[in-house]
Amino acid sequence: MGSTSSFVLDREHSRYRKFVQVQKNKIVLAEVALRFWCRYDNFWLWSVLPIYTKKSNFWALEQALIQLWQPQLNIPFIYQFFNCRKRLIPRTKFSSSRQFGTFSLWRKLRWKSTPAQVRRALHSPLFGRRVQLWEIIQDLGSNSVRGFHMEKRLRSNEIGLHGCCFIRRLANNLGEPQRSYAINAIDRALKFWKAKRVRKPAPLRAPWLLAEDWTRNLRQLLTAHVHMTKQYNTTLQSPSTGIVFTKYPSVMDSLCNHKDAATRWADGETPLCACSTLRQHSPQPQPADQHLVIDGDTLRFADLPFTSIATGSLQNKIFPPSKEIYKSLRSALTTWTTRNSLPSLRRAHLDDLWKRSIQSHLTSLQNHITHKDIIRFK
């Protein structure tokens, strides 16, 4: 599906020129469908058919038609099966009951259509309203006098607060710079209506644990909270239930703190050489007047954690004390609820998950290096 301010054949010719550029592997801004045709070399087996002509709202009509028919080669539907880098993404296999059972009959029934049904859909008030919504968004994203007048309409009772929230979600589909213009205008209108601020959905930045199914349990907690607080989601923005695990300090960070050493040196403190301490752990005799240059694997310690530090990778991570992990988890959840405009999470739910997970974490954490071990090693 596409639209053009020029005529269809002119657009077709320009698409061909773009297609040639893509074929020659030039760095061009081209639609994903063109890359799909280029990959499978079937551009010429597709033909264009005008649906509407001489329409001033051609862009809004195109967007409404994409919403109605959901063509597979239009964004975002093309991403389901084609990625410019990964090429064709294999289809997820359905179970046999889903593929051949009553579900397939339902699918067939759902998609059954006749010319009369298509005509009725195109002339329906619902389709007309969709086109009007896209026209509003187009005007808001235009940075012109039409945008100014449309912004005034957003502050009237004609569109209202709920209309603004709905349009804002729809405006996310625009390309830049129209998207920024439209979203800024809608945000100004929302401020006028004293509405809740619409924020960009942010994932949870949580500490990582060794507990079994930690990611799954955490995601369940987030999803349950989102569902329980659905009635408070007045902005129509779907909160993110994604999880990003924060990094823990590595052995390298704790053992070789160059910044700390430099500060001490700047304060006039003479750096202490660790060679005399380490020399006693070396199995082979080393010259007393020289610094040690030996492999960590050759050092022998009575304590197991020390041997782990000496022989292991400097990139190994150290878990902080469980109190600190809990504190950072709580603050992460507070940040997540604030950023996603959600009510606070009940502490009882978090404590329940924490009790279950920390036991499992501590059981798995046997013989791991701790920050205390590294301080002693120093």
Binding site: M1, G2, S3, T4, S5, S6, F7, V8, L9, R11, E12, H13, Y16, A33, N42, W44, L45, W46, S47, V48, L49, P50, I51, Y52, T53, K54, K55, S56, F58, L61, E62, L65, W69, P71, L73, W111, K112, S113, T114, P115, A116, Q117, V118, R119, L122
Partner: protein, 98 residues
């Protein structure tokens, strides 16, 4: 079925020839693409196992008269819609399993 086979051969020939129509004249390119659209549409509408959803879409769109012309003059008038500005278009193929 024989007509369909001929139409299919014509579509494929046009698809093969279209790249060669680009450099000499834009009008030749335009003519090739218009004929290809008319042929592909007819193929979809006449095929007994055509995609019913797509068939309904072709017949239900406002500019469906391209596929229901009875004379060359009618077709000539109908194809004028390709030259109208401010257009919304759909790109389609006669191959059902794309």
């Amino acid at each position: 079925m024989r007509d369909l086979a001929v139409a299919h051969a014509c579509i494929l020939s046009l698809a093969l020839l279209t790249p060669f129509t680009l450099s000499p004249s834009v009008d030749v390119f335009y003519a090739f693409r218009m004929i290809q659209t008319a042929l592909m549409g007819q193929y979809v509408l006449l095929h007994p196992k055509a995609n019913s959803k797509f068939e309904a879409l072709l017949k239900g769109t406002p500019l469906r008269r391209i596929f229901s012309c009875t004379s060359w003059d009618d077709l000539k008038v109908a194809l004028q819609c390709f030259k109208h500005s401010n257009a919304v278009y759909v790109r389609f193929s006669h191959i059902a399993n794309f």
